[in-house]
Subunit: 219 residues, 2 copies
DNA sequence: CTTTTATGAATGAAGG
DNA sequence: CCTTCATTCATAAAAG
């Protein structure tokens, strides 16, 4: 795996992780037509992985501390560096560049929204929406409509996932053995708040102190 | 949000068995003498692992950036974070940590889908989707979501092409940077910078030199 | 191997 | 609430 290689070639760039991972997959046959794949790691690789993660955890903790010390006596409200316009850089085809046209929650906003959502109440009432919007506006552009839509969509998503995860259908398919096709998305909700979008520094906020405990699965 | 990924591979038939192995998630063997020990992970776990690591990498990068912006802010009031790019799936070295797999229609599946699409009916109804999925599953792994997405994307593509072949009026509109903050009750017009690039500054001054060295280990 | 393109997937917003 | 559409992102596949 990449980790193993990294140790030996610190400056080598790997742009095809996927392929490497694939190569690391062992294939097993069951002898009756089907095969199954599993990812295999050696003890050494597992050990390296643990160390890597451990290092990240430590670094994160210390960076958080550093952040605290740096911000304890500063007014972050003035650090309005977010929402900068960025060129998509589509120079190759000379495409036009246009501004974003739809709202994208910042990580903090998302985290807050998720937390509210998880509290179980359905779509917030109008006054509640106003309140939430007000709170979230401290972390970036947002409107009541955004909040409303977010809850609508989040609910739908949640619902769909439940249907997929709970396909109360017995797998007693008669005739042929239709290899279970519906292996729908398995969203992992038990993980970190969305990190898929850019977050500006001021939006980085660890309201979740269990950073280091999320890797329980490796221990 | 985003970490909801599909888990689509080619070993569904033995999913359960794998899960069982997972439970132990620590021992693997060849079953005949145990000559070699290996760690076995399912794709799902691998995916989780990747994301966990990805998250750490992202957090670290963001914290570093935040640190930079905060420290520089003390000097230059108007300083700006350049085109910050923070792809959560990439480390500062452009090293992809997280990978995800996605469905790819087999030629036969594609042919069938195209044929259905050409028959003109719009987005198939749910039961129809099930039917199609069922049919296509005989030609390879596929899920209802895949089918649904395919039709959505196929139509969008079709539409786009039509616009191209139908060169209506010229519209050499200059992209304006003006942004009207989408406020309550109006169509959102906000913009948010998105993916850009981030680099782990080598010159970052860690309070604890140990961090720096350990980071290096990760690169 | 690196870059570009095609397209699967995620999700904000709109309409009913 | 549900469905549909538009836009964006990430990546498999193709090109260089």
């Amino acid at each position: 795996m990449e980790w193993e290689k990294q140790e030996q070639h610190h400056h080598h760039r790997h742009h095809h992780q996927q392929e490497e991972l694939e190569q690391n997959a062992n294939v097993g046959g069951n002898g009756n037509g089907g095969v199954f794949y599993v990812k295999v790691m050696t003890d050494a690789q597992m050990e390296i992985l643990r160390k890597q993660i451990s290092v990240y955890a430590t670094i994160c903790e210390q960076l958080v501390e550093m952040h605290k010390s740096l911000t304890s006596h500063q007014d972050l409200a003035g650090v309005r560096l977010g929402n900068l316009y960025c060129d998509p850089l589509m120079t190759s085809t000379g495409h036009k560049i246009s501004a974003r046209q739809r709202w994208t929650p910042t990580p903090v906003q998302l985290q807050i929204l998720e937390r509210i959502f998880d509290q179980g109440y359905g779509t917030p009432s109008k006054p509640k929406i106003k309140e939430i919007t007000s709170d979230l506006s401290q972390h970036g552009q947002i409107s009541e409509t955004n909040v409303y839509n977010w809850f609508q969509n989040r609910r739908a998503q949640s619902k769909r996932k439940q249907l997929i995860t709970t396909p109360n259908n017995a797998e007693s398919e008669v005739a042929t053995e239709v290899e279970s096709p519906n292996d729908q998305k398995t969203k992992s909700e038990n993980f970190l708040p969305q990190q898929n979008s850019v977050s500006m520094p001021e939006d980085l906020c660890f309201q979740n102190p269990e950073i280091g405990s999320r890797l329980h699965f490796l221990d």
